[in-house]
């Protein structure tokens, strides 16, 4: 697989934007189109793009987390969110409304369902990341970069 410097550079710039979009989808999900699943897919797609452009090394450089860590953390978070209400005398998976006054943003209202959705987000991101790294091209050879004349000795 040949590497394209242009694609790599563009994606390096675009990756944070895509991740922000995915987070936006996650947080907006309760009231607008989006949600943890869609957000996770966007984040996964962003990593897939990085992988196609720069190989597994590029993905490793952008995230410190192993896909399996994301998967496990996501399921753990979702399970804990589901279980916590049991200890406060409510039913499994019962969600509460939270609201807080934050500087700049003003009054922010959300529900504990957000934590659950974050779990979904992490699991989906982890899945996509795992699939693309498992099936992907692996590490690209440095020598594969659009060879500049005179580079080879």
């Amino acid at each position: 697989m040949r590497r394209s410097v242009i694609l790599e550079t563009v994606i390096r710039a675009e990756l944070p934007v895509l991740l922000v979009v995915s987070l936006y989808l996650l947080f907006a999900g309760h009231n607008q189109p989006g949600g943890g699943f869609a957000g996770g897919l966007v984040a996964g797609a962003a990593y897939a793009l990085a992988l196609v452009a720069g190989g597994a090394g590029a993905v490793r450089r952008t995230t410190r987390f192993q896909p399996t860590t994301l998967l496990g953390a996501g399921l753990l978070l979702a399970t804990l969110t589901a279980l916590v209400p049991l200890f406060t005398g409510n039913d499994l998976l019962e969600h509460d409304v939270l609201s807080a006054d934050l500087p700049v943003l003003g009054t922010v209202k959300t529900t504990t369902a957000l934590f659950f959705d974050t779990g979904v987000y992490l699991v989906v991101t982890g899945l996509v990341l795992l699939v693309v790294t498992a099936l992907g091209p692996g590490d690209l050879d440095v020598g594969d970069v659009d060879a500049t004349p005179g580079d080879g000795t």
Binding site: Q32, G35, F37, A45, A82, L93, V124
Partner: protein, 778 residues
Amino acid sequence: MAAAVLVAARRPLGRARFAVAALAPAATAGWAVWLLATLDPGEAHTRRVEWVPGLDLTLGFRADGLAAVMALVIGAIGVLVCAYAASYFGSSPTAAKVAPLLVAFAGSMLGLVLSDDVLGLFVFWELTSVTSFLLIGTDDERPEARAAAQQAFLITGAGGLALLGGLVLLGQQTGEWTLQGIVAAAPSGGLVEAAAVLVLLGALTKSAQVPFHSWLPGAMAAPTPVSAYLHSATMVKAGVYLVARLSPGLAELGPWRPVVVGAGVASLLVGGWRALRQSDLKILLAMGTVSQLGLLMILFGVGTEEAWAAGVVLLVAHALFKAPLFMVVGIVDHATHTRDIRRLDRLGRRLPVLCGVGVLAASSMAGVPPLLGFIAKEEALAALGETGLSWGTALLVAVVAGSVLTVAYSGRFVFGAFGPAPDRGSAPGALVGPIVRDVHTPAASIVAVPAVLAGAGLLFGLLPVLVQPLVDAAVTWWGPDAHAPTLALWHGLKPALYWSLLVLTLGSLAIVARSAVERVQVDLPRLPGTQRGYERTVRGLLRGADRVTGVVQSGSLPTYLAVILVTMVVTVAVPLSGAVAVPEGLVLADSWGQLLVAAGVLGAALGAALALRRMTVVLLLGVVGYGVAALFMIQGAPDLAVTQLLVETLTVVAFVLVLRRMPERFAARQSVRRQLPRAALALAVGAVVFVFALSATVRTEPGVSEEYLQRSLPEAAGRNVVNVIVVDFRGLDTLGEISVVLVAALGISALSAAGRRGRGAGKAAGTGVDAAEEGGVA
């Protein structure tokens, strides 16, 4: 009361010592004595603990006389076993492993005998199987110990499954889920009979009855304290105990007596016969246990009040003589490093005290007066003489024969361990090793433990009044009017006395002529071994599983897909066939946009079916997916559309990544004959989905979506109803789905790792991606 269970179930971890471990059984024993002292006849302390209220599952505990007797045996023997184990293990690291397991076992066993709720009883039943498995496999570096543990677990576990089936069936037939209720209902009928047989299967496997006894000799791989506790005094009595619990209500059922008494007689005779040919002292005792448990089965299962009461006496007596015998063997093993009677010569002279203890316990086993074993045997013979059954005499004769064998193997034990070594010239297998000359003297503390137990057998024999309250308390389970016979050494010149004399005389003759008996045994053909049966069954199961896997998991992707799709067509089409409906006011399309997109989707699908390059197919499938997303968009479902778009994109990416490893084009076109079934299947799937979609839009009930739409904002504070459904209303579904995603992801990871080593795993990984993503979308 529940506290007693908790105390017993507490597991002293870390540097566990048997002194700590002994506290729990000591508490149990003390509690049991208090219970026996304070309990009015026929009464019981009960406690019900809600377990899963939603499923009506409760843990019902009931401490009555029988439970107290069992608890006393568990507690008292437990304390002494701990004391013995402390010396037996010394400071070896095994102690830390065994001590908590022993206590955990004692807790499970106590729970078992206190449970009134049958499902709770089953749980404790299985717990004892698990702890037994772990204890047999204590020496986990020896393959024989591991195999023995596995065999014990497989056999008792299979019996446990049968027991569960039987208990559930009984519960459903009677509507009673407690032992008390089932016995009071005294049910009958074909299903109840089947249930009884299943329950008995569980009881017979647990109590190592013929033909399921093969695991017990193997279980002797466990350390001796474990054998003394689990495999003679307590756990193997669980089956007998269950029979004792159920027999007042179920003994009149058709198959009950033939099964229980049949297995009991077979065990009594086979166990005794086998014990006579063992040269390993421990195996000899194990076979003797099979035999004694057989007698217990007969007594509890035959279904008369007197026999039942005699069973209780024998149960106590057996614990008091079999446990010390095992301990004696353990000490002999420590002192001489062998348990083989062909290598032990005149040990009685070197270790006179130990010899005395062994003789005392073995005499009780043989039923020699004035020991408790004699009283028990006497009661048993008396009760079996008066069963009033048509085959009662035959049964009595069989039990007398079994008792003769018991006397004979008791003698073999005593003379084998402490008497002169047998004439090695004629003994088969002269390769057993030299006679042991070097004997360590055991510590007094370790000999004291079996001495206490054997002494108790003598004391209770001389003063049967001490055992009387146990039997009186237990027998109330049989019925409110039931009375235990008065225990005594001398009942006068009754038939039972003559039977006892006959047994002792014949048995003594067999002991005197033991070398002749041995020769007869060697000459007779061996009985068919059930050990081989067990091995053959296990091997057959594994081979069968291999074959099934070979057929079901062919490894062909088209076959898997065909099976899945055919299943889908059939399961949807059959219920649908009666409910096909066409909604009113059906229009071809709402707008030109829809038509356009639909045309594009159709074209791409056709193209995908006809394309020859893999990459083309994938891209065209992507077009189909995007087209569907566009339709969602047009219909005003942005959430669905976004998700569909993303999933479609990632599916194409995953496909492309997989396709890099595969040939560019499909293999040469296949013949029409091979393609025809596939085309037919594809058309069928399409038709079913079409009709289903059409019919599904015709509602007869109001949809759930209205309700969700109304509840979404006020109840879940969310305006995006799709998301609210996913994370709140159907949150549990989502939780399940992400768990599936996680498992699928791990599968992909493993497959691709394997694929990197070998070849051809990429294909399977590709389907995993689809399955996982579909699971997520659903």
